[in-house]
């Protein structure tokens, strides 16, 4: 019994759950707030806010797994990507794009961001001017330009502040500018330390020389004194060495100078390394956060700020291994820039497809492609520049799909029908019929269970009533038929006496049809009344058989097989001859079979009178008219049995 509903859910998951996979949260990169300028408080708070959201993602991630617990959902998640390479793994919260893995975190939050994106109008922010700044910076600092001097680099750096003025930038350009500035400042510090190192070395050399000279003087004095010392020894007197304390002082000064030199050297090297690592960290953070254009700009600046020997990326081993899962790979600044360019190209192609699909009135497909592209290019210019009016249209479809998913989760097939009708005019490529047929299948399955429950109630079979109602609710919890039947059953429990009297009257008058109409109510009322329950059961069984035979008769009559139709009514008459419905059916059919009925009635009358020989010949005559007649065959058999020559 669960198979049809399982298939239904698999299909609905395809349409409603799948889009949710594309909306994955990408945690914001960790921005060095110390490097941010005073005016970038907003950027800091945004960064910390997103970071908090990222932490929340870690906490609430498990809550989302129930969305992806079946394989079908996973398959449909993969359909947004090249399944051989690109995919989203909801269990680990990562997205793999062309072999690079991005941490996407809490899907629910990203879904919310996607909705927010669809509602935001970026057209007033003059995105083209914003984009022109990036193009200018990148082309100015391109390696094809031989004339990139310090002044041009500083000009490009100042343009980053212009870019940061745009709301769409989210102050990310400030982060790049701050890193460039910090690098310059550290380079200055490096120079200061270098000068200091030179001074210290000079001082050390001087101290060293002074100590050496002092020691030489002392050696000379010692040699001069040695000859005189022999006579003084003989005379029994001793003299202390001259300049020993001064030498000790000189040596101490030399050691002190050496220590200072080492300290300055270490500080110089530390400053250089710190600047490189800090900058590289920011580039990797941009990439991990899918801010590919800022990553590219940062890479371009890096090339001119640091020497060729510092192009190898030394930070973020773990992150880079995720991005470049190749053993023995040595990441460089150029590799990171290449990755950024490749991602931007992919996003642009995705948005071209979205626009094409939208313009050709394939809005559902356009929405799917947009969600797919949004997962990678959430912060990309091409995604942001998508026209607002188109987003409004797609938002309508998206909201309907989200509603559809919620309704499907709750198995509210009635509600789904309404939503499908809303979607149909705005997304002509939506697989409307396919979904609708599955909805109808579920509704029909539920209705059949309700019907079975009603029949079981009519027979007083309470366990079957309960079982069928539970199955009906499983298919369609909000089935109005369930509520209706429940009301009927509950109402009956309080008025069994009323139903007992009514039943007796109707039964006495032979008004079985009225009894049949309220059979479920009577059944409940007579649960403790076996005699009436048996009578009711008999009535229901008989009239059910009569109804079935009338239906068969109608079918034969439709096929112009009137004699067979009459045969069915004859059988029904044997079960319940006074049924008004049956009488009406007989009256309606009689003109079509008058000859047959005349002979047959004579046969029955003769049989009834014991004239079996005559009855036999009438049955044979009737059989000539309707050779397949069961009544005639049985009549012949009966008459032959009683025939007396």
């Amino acid at each position: 019994m669960k198979t049809p509903i399982k298939h239904l859910f698999a299909a609905l998951a395809a349409y409603f759950c799948a889009p949710m996979f594309a909306f994955a949260q990408a945690p914001m990169p960790t921005i060095s707030t110390a490097a941010a300028p005073a005016g970038s408080n907003d950027a800091r708070s945004a960064a910390s806010g997103n970071s908090a959201a990222g932490n929340e993602a870690g906490v609430t991630n498990n809550n989302n797994f129930n969305l992806f617990e079946n394989k079908t959902s996973q398959v449909f998640a993969d359909k947004f990507f090249d399944v051989n390479q690109d995919s989203i793994n909801p269990e680990t919260g990562t997205m793999t794009w062309k072999g690079k893995t991005f941490d996407i975190g809490n899907l629910r939050v990203v879904r919310a961001r996607f909705e927010r994106y669809l509602t935001q109008d970026y057209s007033k922010q003059n995105i083209d001017d914003y984009q022109a700044i990036f193009k200018e910076v990148i082309s100015s600092l391109s390696v094809v330009n031989d004339d990139v001097d310090e002044e041009k680099i500083r000009y490009c750096w100042s343009r980053l502040f212009d870019a940061a003025q745009y709301e769409i930038d989210g102050d990310m350009s400030l982060v790049v500018a701050n890193n460039v500035y910090a690098s310059w400042r550290m380079r200055q510090e490096y120079g200061t330390f270098s000068q200091s190192e030179k001074d210290k070395r000079r001082e050390f050399d001087e101290k060293k020389w002074q100590a050496l000279e002092q020691s030489k003087i002392m050696e000379y004095d010692a040699r001069q004194a040695s000859s005189a010392s022999l006579s003084r020894t003989k005379m029994g007197t001793k003299t202390a060495p001259v300049g020993a304390s001064e030498l000790a002082n000189r040596v101490e000064e030399k050691a002190s100078s050496l220590a200072e030199l080492a300290s300055v050297t270490a500080m110089k090297e530390l400053t250089g390394a710190q600047a490189v690592l800090r900058y590289q960290s920011q580039v990797v953070a941009f990439l991990m956060g899918r801010k590919f254009q800022h990553a590219q700009v940062a890479c371009v600046f890096y090339r001119y700020i640091y020497r060729g020997t510092a192009q190898e990326v030394k930070v973020g081993d773990k992150e880079l291994k995720q991005l470049f899962p190749v053993s023995g790979f040595v990441p460089t600044n150029d590799a990171l820039e290449s990755l950024s360019l490749e991602a931007q190209r992919d996003i642009k192609e995705g948005m071209d497809a979205v626009n094409m699909l939208y313009d050709t009135d394939q809005k559902y497909s356009a929405l799917e492609r947009l969600m797919e592209t949004f997962a990678l290019g959430e912060y990309d210019y091409n995604v942001r520049a998508f026209p607002y009016q188109k987003k409004v249209d797609l938002l309508k479809i998206y909201k309907n799909l989200a509603t559809l998913k919620n309704l499907a989760d709750n198995k509210d097939w009635g509600g789904i029908e309404d939503v499908l009708n809303n979607i149909k005019p705005i997304a002509k490529d939506f697989p409307y019929q396919e979904v609708l047929s599955k909805v109808k299948t579920a509704q029909r399955a539920s209705d059949m269970r309700v019907l079975a429950a009603r029949q079981a109630a009519a027979l007083g079979n309470l366990p079957m009533v309960e079982k069928n109602l539970m199955q009906a609710a499983e298919f369609w919890p909000l089935n109005p038929g369930i509520e209706q039947l429940n009301k009927e059953l509950v109402g009956l429990t309080s008025g069994s006496l009323k139903y007992t009297q009514k039943f007796d009257e109707l039964y006495e008058r032979g008004n079985y049809r009225d009894i049949m109409e309220d059979s479920s109510k009577y059944a409940l009322a007579f649960m403790q009344d076996k005699a009436r329950a048996d009578k009711l059961k008999k009535v229901v069984e008989n009239l059910s058989r009569v109804d079935m035979l009338i239906a068969q008769s109608d079918e034969f009559a439709t096929q112009k097989n009137y004699y067979a139709a009459w045969e069915m009514l004859e059988n029904a008459k044997n079960i319940e001859h006074s049924d008004p419905l049956l009488s009406r059916a007989i009256a309606a059919l009689a003109p079509q079979v008058a000859d047959y009925v005349k002979i047959l009635s004579r046969a029955k009358e003769s049989e009834k009178n014991g004239d079996y020989a005559v009855a036999l010949n009438y049955y044979l005559a009737a059989q000539e008219i309707s050779p397949t007649s069961q009544v005639c065959r049985l009549g012949v058999e009966e008459c032959v049995k009683n025939y007396r020559p």
Binding site: I599, S606, D611, Y612, A613, V614, L616, N617, Y618, L620, A621, Q623, E624, V636, V640, K641, Y643, R644, P645
Partner: protein, 125 residues
């Protein structure tokens, strides 16, 4: 003394005897077939018991055996003169005729008080 029969007379007498014999045979045969009225299926169906006690001549084809009864067989017969309409005819055991489906008989039948049709003589035709 022996009076010889004239051959010419003999030649006249023999064909004459043959003709007389033939006429007699035909006359007898005509009398047996026309002795009973032809059975009318429509009259029987309309009012079977009104024909009780009557004897008829019935031409029919054996259809199928309905039952083996004490004293004979109940067989449905297709009336040749009434478009093959079937009636039940009782064939008593004493008729001393092998009966098979598809055989055609000119039979003498009698209608019983209860409307039974009973065969008494059978001739294949």
């Amino acid at each position: 003394m022996n009076a010889k029969i004239n051959p010419a007379i003999l030649a006249l007498i023999i064909p004459l005897i043959a003709v007389v014999a033939a006429v007699f045979f035909l006359a007898v045969k005509h009398e047996s077939a026309s002795a009973y009225e032809q059975f009318s299926y429509s009259k029987y169906i309309e009012a079977p018991k009104q024909l009780a006690g009557n004897k008829y001549s019935l031409k029919g084809e054996i259809d199928l055996k309905l039952a083996e009864l004490p004293g004979g067989k109940l067989i449905s017969v297709k009336c040749s003169d009434f478009g093959g309409k079937r009636i039940a005819v009782f064939f008593p055991n004493g008729l001393d005729v092998n009966i098979y489906t598809g055989q055609r008989f000119d039979m003498r039948v009698e209608i019983g008080t209860q409307g039974q049709i009973k065969a008494s003589e059978l001739k294949k035709y």
